[in-house]
């Protein structure tokens, strides 16, 4: 029983965690990846579009069945319901609003009455993607971005597109059409897939094997009881973040593999779909940056279809509406609602405070980094960096606090409402509600200056 050195620990990690993770991980997703690849190759052939839509639909249903077995019917039911609603109001001018209401009612009824909590938790991700796609299509029809009303086959092919149906992300109807037209199989395409796959595996390893070990094994920090509590919270937060990056990179892989997620630069195709931006989350400039980098397609969707529609109510109500929409899409769980609403307040306070400070000091200390041609006088002085660094540390602190909820108890307890609520309150009481207090402090400070 000799002492473990770091080297031995790393060996143990490699043999015990990394390899089995990679191998068994691949065992489970290879079918999804294979179907994606098959669809991509099929799109390269000269089949008529309707056949391609049908193939997309079949591939999507097959993938859903692989992951959820018969529970997939809830997802299919939602997509059929969306099309019916869209069809019934196809001459209206506010199809988006009608469809949003229909989706909302379906999600509420499903969550509260029809489906048991464990199943719902499993299919929630897919439901979210379906809902987002349908709502975006409806608003695009309203705005005239999409001119022709889609046929059932087109609609279902888009909604259940195999590259995004399991792990997301949201893609627009236009990019689905582009994917169907298909671009050449080039090296850059392959490079993007391998890169995303490697990153996906790395994030999984960090989430399951390294994050629970961070303190005091890998980083020898030990302290009093309250410090330990915060370190523990940080471990939970990191583990949760990396689990999210894992899914994000996996979704990048499947999307690209199925042939979607590229932009045209003249005649040069760039495979550049980005779902999460880990560097901007782990070392953030501001909470606003965290929120946008967490899930880029989703924040784009929220911005385009919720925030802009709600903006006529004023900025702060629009922010609240956006976060509420996000919370509703994520499912009616107490802890997610609490986190998302807290995020809403935190980002708002941070935004207004930094805006005021930037105006007073005429410095580049906004939530978003200045464009190169901004008219602030102080751009690269030391104290500007200092203030930005302070806000970064504050953001990491907020993230730790919010992420502390997502510990292993969360995934193992019966996901009943009562448990989630008491768990949230208990966890945050342990950290003495510090983040909320700091937020209120910042707001009072903003209000005074």
């Amino acid at each position: 029983m000799a002492s473990f050195s770091t080297w031995e620990l790393l060996q143990e990690l490699a043999v015990g965690c990394v390899f089995p993770a990679a191998q068994q991980g691949f065992d489970q997703v290879w079918q999804l990846l294979f179907v994606c690849l098959l669809y991509r190759l099929l799109c390269r052939t000269g089949l008529p579009p309707s056949v391609k839509h049908l193939c997309s639909l079949i591939a999507g249903v097959y993938a859903l069945y692989q992951f959820f077995e018969l529970h997939m019917m809830w997802v299919v039911l939602l997509s059929v319901l969306c099309y019916l609603t869209l069809f019934l109001v196809c001459y209206s001018k506010s199809r988006g609003t009608f469809l949003s209401l229909a989706v909302l009612i379906y999600l509420l009824v499903g969550e509260l009455h029809l489906v048991d909590a464990a199943t719902w938790l499993k299919i929630r991700g897919s439901q979210m993607v379906v809902a987002m796609k349908a709502i975006s299509l409806a608003f695009d029809l309203d705005r005239g971005v999409v001119s022709a009303f889609p046929s059932p086959l087109e609609f279902m092919g888009y909604i259940l597109f195999v590259g995004t149906v399991i792990f997301g992300p949201w893609i627009s109807f236009a990019s689905y059409k582009d994917a169907m037209e298909s671009r050449k199989l080039k090296f850059s395409w392959f490079a993007k897939i391998s890169g995303s796959w490697v990153k996906c595996q790395l994030c999984l390893v960090v989430s399951t094997c390294i994050a629970p070990y961070l303190f005091p094994y890998l980083i020898p920090v030990e302290g009093g009881e309250s410090l330990d509590r915060w370190l523990d919270a940080y471990e939970n937060a990191v583990s949760f973040h990396y689990s999210h990056y894992f899914v994000s990179f996996l979704s990048e892989t499947t999307t690209t593999l199925a042939g979607a997620g590229f932009t045209d630069h003249k005649d040069n195709v760039k495979w550049d779909v980005t779902v999460a931006n880990p560097v901007n989350v782990e070392l953030p400039r501001s909470m606003v940056e965290v929120v946008t980098s967490w899930n880029v397609p989703m924040s784009r969707w929220l911005n385009t279809y919720v925030f802009k529609n709600a903006l006529r109510m004023g900025t702060f109500p629009a922010i609240l509406v956006t976060y509420t929409a996000s919370a509703l899409l994520h499912g009616l769980s107490f802890h997610l609602g609490a986190v998302l609403l807290s995020l809403g307040f935190i980002t708002y306070v941070e935004h207004v405070l930094r805006k005021r400070l930037a105006a007073i000091f005429s410095a580049c200390i906004l939530s978003k980094s200045c464009p190169s041609d901004c008219n602030h006088q102080n751009k690269k002085t030391l104290w500007v960096y200092g203030i930005n660094l302070t806000f970064s540390v504050l953001a990491i602190f907020h993230l730790t606090y919010l992420g502390s909820l997502f510990d292993s108890d969360m995934d193992n307890m019966d996901p009943g409402e009562g448990f989630l609520a008491s768990h949230t309150i208990q966890k945050w009481s342990e950290l003495s509600w510090l983040s909320h207090k700091v937020m209120i402090g910042c707001f009072v400070f903003y209000w005074l200056i």
């Binding site: 029983m1 000799a2 002492s3 473990f4 620990l9 143990e12 990690l13 043999v15 015990g16 965690c17 089995p20 993770a21 068994q24 991980g25 065992d27 489970q28 992951f67 077995e69 464990a118 938790l121 499993k122 299919i123 929630r124 991700g125 897919s126 979210m128 993607v129 399991i166 792990f167 997301g168 999984l204 989430s207 399951t208 094997c209 629970p212 070990y213 303190f215 005091p216 094994y217 583990s239 949760f240 689990s243 999210h244 894992f246 899914v247 979704s251 899930n295 994520h330 499912g331 997610l336 997502f406 292993s408 995934d411 193992n412 945050w428 009481s429 509600w433 909320h436």
Partner: protein, 370 residues
Amino acid sequence: MRILALLLGVKAACILLVSSLSGTGAVNNSGRWWGIVNVASSANLLTNSKNVQLVLDPSLALLSRRQRRLIRQNPGILHAIVAGLHAAMKECKWQFRNRRWNCPTTHSPTVFGKIVNRGCRETAFVFAITSAGVTHAVARSCSEGAIESCTCDYRRRGPGGPDWHWGGCSDNVDFGRVFGREFVDSSERGRDLRYLTNLHNNEAGRLTVSTEMRQECKCHGMSGSCTIRTCWMRLPSFRTVGDFLKDRFDGASRVVYANKGSNRASHRAEPRHLEPENPTHKPPSARDLVYFEKSPNFCSHNGKMGTHGTSGRTCNSSSPGLDGCELLCCGRGYKTRMEKVTERCHCTFHWCCHVSCLNCTSTQTLHQCL
């Protein structure tokens, strides 16, 4: 010559005396290591348990040389052992809170008192729960990275099911069991029935911890949904272990030395083992608790037996069970008095975020055994 013979006789008597004393010494040795729970907490030894010097501290003299070596070889483990003992004592008190014997402990080095030198059911429970406590705490500390010589157990992997299953950081119960066997069992000496019984109960405690391990998972999916999962093995809560051992306490089997009265050759050929006293009962399984002596009734104070008696204990006048005044007071009767109790009540949650309470005073009826 006669004097010499006398001297020899005296010497022989002395040797006999010494050996008989050391014999009782060996008996008292069992569970002697429990004393570190008081020593370590009073001497504030645990502030820096990774320091090797502390292990050589004379206040740890309660441990055998082998036990001290084990602590030295596994920096950080003293914390776990003491924490495990604390948990075991707490759990023992909780499980027996309503019984005549309510698991009394003292701050002297003999933590559980004289009961440990007997062979009754209560003795069996004390050995099993403390052994389980050490295994539990050590296994948990391994996965938390608090012991330098062990890590998470990455070999425990569930089968690949419809969701993903593979190893994360499992609690290292194998290390906990091996360490427990080396550390806890090494304080038992001898070859008699008591020795075998204590070892059996120690092992029963450890086995309970490892067989009650359960799977715990982490969800991965879009925004916290549970599309796929990673799983690992987690220790049961110590309450689960306590409940399980209490069940085994109620169904403990009385045992005797196997092959009693048979000739020496066959005795040597067969490994020493325990048999149920009643031959029609089936032999105790590895997780059963065993005892060889009837429990005293624990009713009255008895210095020799080390029982405190039940006088002064509060009892429940309406209960027909073990905590009822009839049984708990052994028929001696009880006195009733009223007591004013002040407790926090009408607590309200204020936004945001504190709870304020009022102090309510109520009178409660207390029954105490005579």
